[in-house]
Symmetry: C2
């Protein structure tokens, strides 16, 4: 039996500029998949009544569930309600309780309610109103027939916070009542410092044995993710299937896997530091604060992360991490001894259990034949031992810096395990 | 006269997961707009021949130019060629010169050419082959009639680097020969630390006078952008129109505008530092390296940026920026005197012309009644004077940190002007 399929229609001319991507559909897709509903189509179009009506007609022809995001506001350009009413051949009625709510809301803010705001109170015949706790435009839910088939239409506001809250509060349980009940389980593996092609070559023979598990491989920002999804008659069956394929893939890729719980590398490192009651300090040259920034982006990082120094100039390498000027002179700032001295120096200076030193050439300029762009030395000191990795990273400045921080986190994880 | 309109169809089941957005269409939209072509529709769908053929039919019914991205690879799932041939009712021929090229490419890499790779050499009847310098799948260009109307179909590979290079090398000049010639000029203004609603309220009365200029307002990461586009009979006319509306909007929003040249705030600050031959050092507590990271992400930043310290712990505020322990004791780490001391201390320690100190509560925990989450003190010292700003920032940890770094850059800009 084929499950229900959905189409997501994002409405708004700003979505057709070079500047904006539709991210609402990602959150909706994730939620729909949990109900066993696949998204088969996404359409993005502007604020044109004729085009919008026609797109709604096409969607109703090919999808069981059609979700609209945007076009519910108060301006002339907000036409989703009108288009849906037109394609269904029904009218709209102004809902006085919504009008009262709008009046109230505006009065509280001391703003005048203008006529155009009233259109947000127009309800399509046969629709249920979905109250919007975070904005003025309510959503609408329509369970109807179109050309002899049952169709669900959901009108949602465009602002992401309004849309996701409204989905959770109002739409999810309504969909559960409509969609044939299936049990979905998901799992993931996150890996780093390994090429996507290697992950695919090694794990495809495993996950392809699981034709009932949907596997997605993703490569993003120096990280490879495997996502598994199974849909079964019971939750236990679904959980068992994804756990099995996840476990086998994890064993295959062992040293590169940093999380099976959808955590970031920095979360994993902070968790390990916390577990062991250890502290960390970093001295960054070519990454210029990126590593510290990633770590401190995690709430509660101050428990294990003391801080460190951004030692862009040679003078600061000496001032903040006690790298001897003679060493900088002899070996150059980008060298094995300097990475070692940075790691040891910052560790001692900050009184941390672990110290990291990073020095390298992020480019685009500054490379030489012996020290090309992408050469990075990464030192990690724990008092007993200091190890220095020499990395040759490819790509542009952004990629080199990111991968250097990624390697630092993976090495810290290894050291802490 | 209505200009030509385009539809972009992104093909690939991975585009319908919760993990991936279609960014190819942004690059294509930007290029198409430069030719005076508006993108009216975007469709995203999976690797299903029936659905893909139907989507191509719908697109040919409503757009003059239909661009496909993806689905040109060697696997069974790559079906864009097949769908386009089906909708046009034509056949495909295997092109021997493409086969030879594939053979060559594979031999050079020492990989065996498998049968399925051959399908990349299938050329739709009536199509021109668009050589792909960066991958195995060539693009295709079809200039044809569909239901009595002239239609252009462009098949492009999905990987972004292949797609953009192929567009530039092969597609752009072909489109120029098809599209009625117009002259397009664009301009932009970038603003920060001002709400979008204020920018819109103040500039809308200006840009609405220019009905021949398309204005887009965007709010992204603590920044508001205005983008202007005019299409005219001559380049000079188009340039003059966008320059006029840009100039008037810039005058209206004067203190908040940091670039009319599409630069980032960090680029502007580094440019000003370079101009004046001055250097900068930063001491960051709540931003944890974010400010340093943003500045050092700019190539060449080492000329003006010396470095600094991430002083997460109180001990490091003293060790790296000489904040007196008694001051930390008396006023707390998040206080006006500590921000001042951090700015002055890091400036002196690093021997920089300008010093920045940031201390605050990024949350989600750590707030109190008198010092709530979002309270940030920002100090800037230049030797002659130290000024401290008290900020009350809203939102989550990420937003508070970002806006704190944004304010720091805007204050640095002001100080340098």
């Amino acid at each position: 039996m084929r499950g229900m399929v959905a189409e997501i229609i994002a409405v708004g001319s700003e979505m057709l500029t070079p500047y904006r991507v539709d991210t609402n559909s990602l959150a909706l897709t994730s939620e729909l998949n949990k109900l066993g509903v696949a998204v088969a189509f996404k359409t993005i179009l502007g604020d044109d009544l004729g085009q919008l009506t026609e797109a709604a007609r096409i969607a109703l022809g090919r999808a069981d569930i059609v979700l609209f995001s945007g076009g519910l506001g108060p301006t002339e350009d907000d036409l989703t309600r009108e288009a849906v009413a037109a394609v269904l051949g029904v009218s709209m009625q102004r809902d006085t309780s919504i009008v009262d709510g709008l009046r109230d809301r505006f009065r509280k803010r001391g703003i005048e309610l203008r006529d155009n705001n009233m259109k947000q109170a127009d309800v399509i015949d046969g629709a249920e109103v979905l109250p919007n706790a975070n904005g003025t435009a309510p959503g609408q839910w329509i369970d109807t027939e179109f050309e002899g088939k049952r169709r669900i239409l959901v009108l949602l506001p465009g602002p992401p916070k309004e849309l996701t809250a409204l989905y959770t509060d109002q739409v999810e349980r309504r969909l559960r009542g409509v969609v044939p009940q299936v049990h979905i389980a998901t799992a993931s593996l996150r890996m780093a410092v390994v090429p996507e092609s290697e992950v695919d070559a090694r794990t495809a023979p495993i996950y392809q044995e699981y034709s009932d598990v949907q596997t997605t491989i993703l490569s993003t920002q120096g990280e490879i993710q495997l996502h598994f999804l199974a849909s079964k008659g019971t939750e236990a069956e679904a959980e068992a299937r994804v756990a099995e394929v996840q476990g086998r893939c994890a064993a295959e890729m062992e040293p590169f896997v940093f999380s099976a719980e959808n955590e970031t590398p920095e979360q994993v490192v902070l968790w390990l530091l916390g577990e062991r009651g250890q502290t960390l300090a970093v001295a960054e040259s070519c990454t210029g604060g990126l590593l510290a920034q990633r770590i401190t982006a995690v709430p509660g990082s101050s428990k294990s992360f003391l801080g460190g120094a951004v030692v862009y100039s040679n003078a600061l390498k000496t001032a903040f991490a006690d790298v001897p000027p003679a060493m900088l002179e002899e070996h150059g700032a980008v060298s094995e001894p300097v990475a070692r001295a940075l790691a040891e120096g910052i560790r001692a200076r900050c009184g941390a259990d672990l110290g990291v030193g990073i020095t390298g050439i992020a480019g685009p300029d500054g490379g030489t034949e012996t020290k090309p762009v992408g050469l990075v030395y990464l030192g990690i000191a724990d008092g007993a031992e200091t190890r220095v990795l020499r990395l040759n990273l490819g790509g542009d400045r952004e990629r080199i810096r990111w991968f250097a921080s990624q390697h630092a986190l993976m090495e810290l994880r290894k050291r802490l395990l």
